[in-house]
Amino acid sequence: MLDHPVASPTPSAGTAGTEPQTFTGNRGLAIEEMLIFEIGRDDTTGVDLPEPPRVVSRLGKLERAAPIGLPGLSEPEAVRHYVRLSQKNYGIDTGIFPLGSCTMKHNPRLNERMARLPGFGDIHPLQPLSTVAGAVALIAELSRWLSELTGMPAIAMTPKAGAHGELTGLMAIKAALGARGERRSVVLVPEPAHGTNPATAALLGYRVEALPARADGSVDVEEVRKRLSPDVAALMLTNPNTCGLFERDVVAIAEAVHAAGAYFYADGANFNAIVGKVRPGDLGVDAMHINLHKTFSTPHGGGGPGAGPVALSASLAPFMPVPYVMGSDAVGLPSHYREHPGPGSQSLGRICAFHGQMGMFVRALAYMLSHGVDGMRQASEDAVLNANYIRASLSDLMSPAFGERPCMHEALFDDSWLEGTGITTLDFAKAMTDEGFHPMTVYFPLVVHGAMLIEPTESESKQSLDQFIASLRGLAKAAKSGDVARFKDAPHLAPRRRLDETKAAREPRLRWTPSGPHRQAAE
């Protein structure tokens, strides 16, 4: 059953090598597109603007002299250019996007419409607060939802993305330690953590000490106790962890951290597994960022913008960055909005201009209102169910990293099942693109050899999962049967064959230049 997709596959007509060469380089609907610098013209514009009023210039001799080098396109040309570019991309709307740790779920279009209401999209961050009461109320309302779902009393809303949220959380911890008159210099980070965790700690001058993980990526509470000292400021822990497992000892870990006078930071990247099931605040977490662009469906947009509000415990709440909504019961009146640390305030200050990612706040709240608390719990359950369904359906052919143990919202495989085939995890991923799928996360977490981390999210139907599973099973059998060429040369059918990343790094060409591409010195 597993091996037969719902709709039987049409056999591939052939590979790139057997197709006729075209004069354009295009292949049917796959159209090659040059850079705007190659097709645009200096005197072309796609915007009709009136003649500027005649005035005496007040530029103080600072008028730009040299040409800028920005060719333009008329509107029809611009539309065609970007539509063609878009067609070279894979998105969630194309199909399953099972990137582990990235939570690529459906992006509801209602959210886009709501963010574009003039009352949200066309308001200025510094117009009088009396003219943006609805915006302040929306921030307060989203903050209330996040507070409720995390079980934590305060939400710092302004961080611009997950890593910015981590930075804000660690800043709050550093400020809190400072207020106690303590200077601690170490942050403990488990080896399987996201790279942003150690990078963030280092940015604030902390020495990062890596905590070895158990075989299943989980943190050993005894190891934590051994490493804790009066010099440890915080432990950063991802839960569910990057191996897709819930940290069973999380409560004991939190207690140990607190007993040593340190703070417990949780990376909330994997919050989608547990919304409505358990609250981080109830587990002893002091600070946790929430990726609105993961758990709460705001679009990833090819790498942002994100939004990374940070939930804070009562012990860290006084150190909230400005601006914030004052008081837990505030209904969001502008008079409850604090833009500056007042006298006696312990706020850590400002971490970015203005009020945070308002456009993302609107989308996230639309998601929450649509799901309701019941729907969000169901979403988490479905996300976990889907991941386990994939794990169970592939475990006889591929090697699940932790045997038959259930996972949370992502299923992790290692590459031991590929041993002796001459095929790597990367080859397998590239072959998946020929099958019409975006690959899973590969080679992360680092603690598992040749890792393949699959996060289907709750957005996939059973039919979609069955098709995905059947395709992976087909590929797995092909790999084991010695069909090496299918993998080594993959992708055959994507807009590009495998790209030379070594060349890109050795001879960096980071912008188009009129004289044609040439090597640009980078020491």
């Binding site: 790139a16 380089g25 597109e33 013209r41 072309t44 915007v47 500027p52 210039s57 103080g60 600072l62 730009r64 800028i68 060719p71 333009g72 509107e75 970007y82 539509v83 570019l85 067609q87 991309n89 990137l99 886009e112 209401l117 009352g119 949200f120 066309d122 961050p125 943006v132 609805g134 109320a137 779902l149 993305a161 997950g162 890593a163 550093k174 790279g195 990078a199 940015l203 001058g205 547990i274 662009h293 090819g302 939004a307 970015c352 203005f354 209102l369 309701g372 729907g375 976990v384 369904y389 590239k430 709750e458 139907s461 059973k462 040369d489 994507a494 790209l499 790094a505 912008r511 640009q520």
Partner: protein, 451 residues
């Protein structure tokens, strides 16, 4: 629930395949006494799922409590600007394949994102007259903080000097990071008339001087001499701007000796959106590229020799270098960069220059008219589309009175500098291409009535 495809029949069949009897078995690792067991036990009950109509109604009610910029004569700037964004921009950036894609880790199926990032980097480098730009930062303020960190790494020095006319939110963003990361900041006091002697603060301990032009009060500054002075002391000059349209008309930082440029790109292609999401621009010289934060897109070839694009020089980044990375940034502002690059492509050099000229002319006309209002003084000599006025009395009160008359007349400096009563009578005023003669007349008329 309309976003969840699984049916109860599906769920049962899937649980059977997995070999468990109920969903809670899959959550068995969560300590039993901490589980919510089907209900949130918090202070507040959260509502249940709602249909699209109900959600739209609830959010529209909130939106209706705000006054959109496009509905009134609007002159608010100070770091974010109301510009006309062509309909094409919003349509194209909502293409599914752009909107719902991820950071392009699999370049063979992300050439759309990668090519527009390459175009974006090239446009930003051209606009700022710098050699290389990255694929975007969160916004101008965080780009500014990253630029300061970058300068500290390059010079191995620990002190930054901030011009008094740097946007106060940018100054505070840099201050917060430096205070908590153990770096030293010398922030000069605001100089609303545009005169300050930054050069006096530069010595061999200084990593960088951060100066904004057009600055927070709207003054245009020639930073050439300052750059020379910084370089002579082994320091770097960081040039900041918040109004990207100005670069269509004004001498770019790269031509005045800047080593790093950090700017806000919102003005091109992006909505006001109450302050975010925006797009941070960061550009520098080739020799500093390996100290840059953030993603960089580069050109290469595929197995068949065809041109293609990939993320490159990632040995700088957190997912490879962890605690030794140049920054912790991961997600940036991809989609806002796309909006920027589409709008810039539509404008082209000819359109951008004309747009900038209209902005400048509108601001000059407004400054002249406001300067004629009794007891109102315009502080600027050289400016682009923004300037500062001194009003008789409390600026914040005057702005509220103007708002009551349906004119959003600018930003009282006290909103951002509450601890400096000497700035309490200043308003930063911006005028862009969206302002009409009627808008200007309404402003002048309303201001005459309230002062």
């Amino acid at each position: 629930m309309r976003y969840l495809p699984l049916t109860d029949t599906d769920r049962k069949a899937m649980l059977r395949r997995i070999g468990v009897t109920d969903i809670d078995t899959l959550f068995a690792d969560i300590p039993r006494d901490k589980r919510l067991n089907g209900r949130l036990n918090g202070r507040l009950a959260l509502p249940k799922a709602q249909g699209e109509m109900e959600v739209e109604r609830a959010l529209s009610r909130l939106a209706a409590r705000n006054v959109p910029a496009g509905s009134v004569p609007f002159f608010v700037g100070a770091g974010a600007y109301k510009h006309h964004v062509p309909a094409t921009v919003d349509h194209l950036m909502q293409r599914s394949e752009f909107l719902t894609s991820y950071t392009p880790y699999q370049p063979e199926i992300a050439q759309g994102t990668l090519q527009y990032l390459y175009e974006f980097q090239t446009q930003v480098a051209a606009l700022t007259a710098m050699e290389v730009a990255n694929a975007s930062m969160y916004d101008g303020s965080t780009a500014c903080a990253e630029a300061v960190s970058m300068a500290m790494r390059i010079t191995r020095r620990r002190r930054a000097v901030l011009a008094g006319n740097l946007h106060p939110h940018y100054r505070e963003t840099v201050e917060t990071l430096c205070r908590l990361s153990g770096h030293e900041i010398v922030a000069l006091p605001p100089a609303p008339r545009g005169t300050e002697d930054l050069a006096a603060y530069i010595d061999s301990n200084v990593a960088c001087v951060v100066v904004q032009t057009p600055d927070f009060y709207g003054h245009l500054r020639d930073i050439t001499a300052l750059a020379e002075k910084a370089h002579a002391a082994g320091a770097l000059l960081i040039a900041v701007f918040t109004e990207a349209v100005s670069l269509g008309l004004v001498e770019p930082p790269g031509a005045m000796g800047a080593d790093i440029v950090a700017g806000e790109g919102q003005s091109i292609g992006n909505a006001l959106s109450f302050g975010g999401p925006y797009v941070g621009l960061l550009a520098t010289r080739h020799k500093h590229v390996r100290q840059m934060p953030g993603r960089l897109c580069g050109e290469t070839v595929d197995q068949d020799g065809r041109r293609g694009f990939v993320l490159t020089l990632s040995a700088r980044e957190q997912h490879i270098r962890r605690e030794k990375a140049t920054s912790n940034i991961c997600t940036n502002s991809g989609l806002c960069a796309l909006a920027f690059t589409i709008h810039m492509t539509l404008l082209g050099e000819a359109g951008l220059k004309r747009l900038a000229r209209i902005n400048h002319a509108n601001a000059v006309q407004l400054a002249d008219s406001l300067g004629e209002v009794p007891r109102v003084e315009v502080l600027n000599q050289a400016f682009f589309n923004e300037f500062t006025i001194r009003v008789p009395g409390d600026a914040a009160e005057i702005i509220e009175k103007l708002a009551a008359k349906g004119v959003l007349g600018g930003v009282p400096v006290s909103r951002l500098e509450p601890d400096r009563p000497e700035l309490g009578d200043l308003i930063v005023v911006a005028s862009t291409e969206v302002n009409t003669d009627d808008d200007r007349a309404a402003y002048v008329c309303a201001l005459r009535e309230v002062v």
